[in-house]
């Protein structure tokens, strides 16, 4: 019960302090909207909007979660308020879950902004919404844990942004969203398979356009493995770097 109270209040505070702040809400809407508009103006055909939807959704989650989590945790580390959390009796596992759940939910909400925008322009029939929802959840989890990994690896807020981009931009181009995996050189394609976004984006492609390349169970299994590995790696890093 005590853990539940602490968990809930950490998450609630983060929501109020960070995720529900007007700049972040507007960013969460403007970012996918700008991308949608850009592609829509370029293509001007309903089919293309549907084709680009998986990419916009995946990018909205990736950029939303990694930016916010890595920056907020680095900020709390700098102001030493994160020490207050480490000094409280809640276990490190629960503390990390509480800190990341807000970002995961933020990522999930972000993912559906492009869907809502797309509904104004096109009909979206024959979509497997269960797989869409599940893949959104897993992309949000892996992206958030990637943000956590970044936050634990840096000490300054500007470093968190720079380091995030170091991961994010190669991921976007290597995950098969813009260049199909089959068209990538073999050694680059190999690298793609070590990126969680590859599996998340492929799941979205399968669910929305039925043109994914990896089977659904394999993608989900690999995303679960990525989530666990990233979480445990970040936890280990916190234990070694922040509880020195």
């Amino acid at each position: 019960m005590k853990t539940a109270i602490a968990f809930w209040n950490i998450m609630l505070k983060d929501f109020r302090n960070y995720y529900l702040k007007p700049p972040n809400i507007s960013w969460g809407i403007i970012f996918p909207f700008a991308w949608m508009l850009m592609f829509f103006l370029k293509s001007q055909t309903p089919v293309d909007v549907r084709a680009i939807l998986p990419g916009i959704m995946a990018m909205s989650i990736l950029f939303g979660t990694t930016s916010l989590l890595s920056v907020t945790i680095t900020f709390e580390r700098r102001s030493r308020s994160f020490d207050r959390l480490l000094l409280s009796p809640i276990s490190l596992t629960w503390l990390m879950l509480a800190k990341t759940l807000g970002a995961i939910l933020f990522g999930i909400v972000n993912a559906f902004v492009p869907v809502l925008i797309a509904l104004f322009f096109v009909n979206l029939p024959h979509i497997n919404w269960v797989i869409v929802f599940m893949s959104v959840i897993f992309i949000a989890i892996t992206s958030t844990f990637l943000g956590l990994f970044i936050a634990v690896s840096v000490s300054e807020v500007f470093e968190a942004q720079t380091f995030s981009n170091f991961f994010r931009f190669p991921m976007v181009f290597l995950c098969g969203l813009f260049i199909p995996l089959g068209q990538l050189p073999v050694y680059v394609r190999l690298l793609s398979y070590f990126i969680p976004l590859t599996y998340g984006a492929d799941l979205l492609k399968t669910a929305i356009n039925q043109d994914g390349h990896i089977t659904v169970p394999i993608s989900f299994s690999i995303l679960i493995i990525f989530s666990i590995v990233l979480f445990l790696f970040s936890k280990r890093n916190i234990q070694h770097k922040w509880i020195y």
Binding site: N9, K13, S88, P89, I243
Partner: protein
């Protein structure tokens, strides 16, 4: 029998080859204020971090209420409160919200944490400020609220790291009074400080720590008695008195004494043995020197500290000023 709330055995912390804390052994008694006094880099904060769970000891043991918590200090965090050397509450929350949030970290229910937050704001004279954002607080107010946050879960032992460093005199005084009253209501306090006067005023027992080692530990009056190797009596005379007027005769009569001119018409008589004040007074009277005041000088804690550690007051003062900046 005296009850130890905290006991530390051979506590050591190494950072690669650097020995930050070297085999500390001490215990803190229930309901006492225990002071850790030493210069910057002495190992005070590292020790607190190990005792509270922000650092892992390289070796040694930590006991709370007789139970070994070294390997799982997290379990002891329910009974300890921490006020770090820098205020670390949330700038975006107001005072009341900050206290409530800190209480929630200890699993305290909403109604109870709000009740405790209101009481603490009242006790710390922050009722009005409680509605304002923390970032608008002065340094002294921030410090007070950080202390309130450290005790909202009613810990058995409170760790205070440099509680008055960098704040104005009036706020520092208020905080000292708060520490006293917390202790009087049953909270054991472990505090580190640069301020010798603060340690002297507040602490029941003190440990002098230098370069990671405890040089001396004990109750203040014991430390002072140990350091008092000579009796000092200070005389203030009426009018201008020259040492040459009485020095020769004085040393003839009191051969074991030393005379020191402190300032115009103020002299100190030092000796390894305690002299009868009346015989000294009679000596001056016989030479027509009117004594305005005579007082026995006891060594200050500062003198004891300098004597034991070899660190001059100026060094501590410079560090204090450096820390303020």
């Amino acid at each position: 029998m005296e009850q130890h709330i905290l006991k530390v055995e051979n506590l050591t912390k190494k950072f690669n080859d650097f020995l930050a804390v070297d085999s500390l052994n001490f215990s803190v008694l229930k309901n006492e204020i225990f002071g850790f006094l030493g210069p910057n880099g002495a190992g005070k904060t590292t020790t607190i971090n190990m005792l509270t769970g922000l650092a892992r000891p390289t070796s040694g043991s930590i006991f709370f209420n007789g139970k070994d918590y070294t390997a799982h200090i997290k379990k002891a965090q329910e009974i300890i409160g921490i006020v770090p050397d820098e205020s670390n509450l949330y700038e975006e929350l107001d005072g009341f919200e900050n206290l409530c949030f800190c209480a929630s970290l200890y699993g305290i229910e909403k109604t109870e944490r709000e009740h405790r937050a209101r009481n603490l704001l009242r006790q710390f004279n922050l009722t009005e400020a409680g509605k304002r954002l923390y970032k608008s607080y002065s340094k002294g107010m921030k410090r007070k609220l950080t202390i309130a946050a450290g005790i909202i879960h009613q810990p058995s032992v409170l760790f205070l790291d440099e509680p008055t460093t960098g704040i104005d005199v009036a706020s520092a005084r208020q905080i000292r009074l708060l520490i006293k009253s917390l202790n009087e209501t049953g909270t054991t306090i472990f505090m580190t400080t640069h301020y010798i006067e603060e340690a002297e005023r507040l602490c029941h027992r003190i440990a002098f720590i230098v370069k990671g080692q405890i040089i001396k530990i004990g109750a203040i009056h014991d430390l002072m008695e140990d350091a008092q190797k000579e009796a000092i009596i200070q005389f203030s005379f009426d009018g201008i008195v020259q040492l040459s007027q009485f020095e020769y005769d004085f040393l003839q009569q009191f051969s074991q004494c030393k005379l020191t001119h402190i300032q115009e018409s103020v002299f100190q008589v030092r000796s390894a043995i305690a002299h009868d004040l009346m015989s000294l007074m009679s000596f001056f009277d016989s030479r027509g020197i009117k004594v305005m005041e005579a007082k026995i000088i006891k060594p200050s804690l500062e003198e004891v500290f300098v004597k034991i550690t070899g660190i001059e007051r100026e060094v501590m003062k410079k560090e204090k000023e450096g820390k303020k900046k």
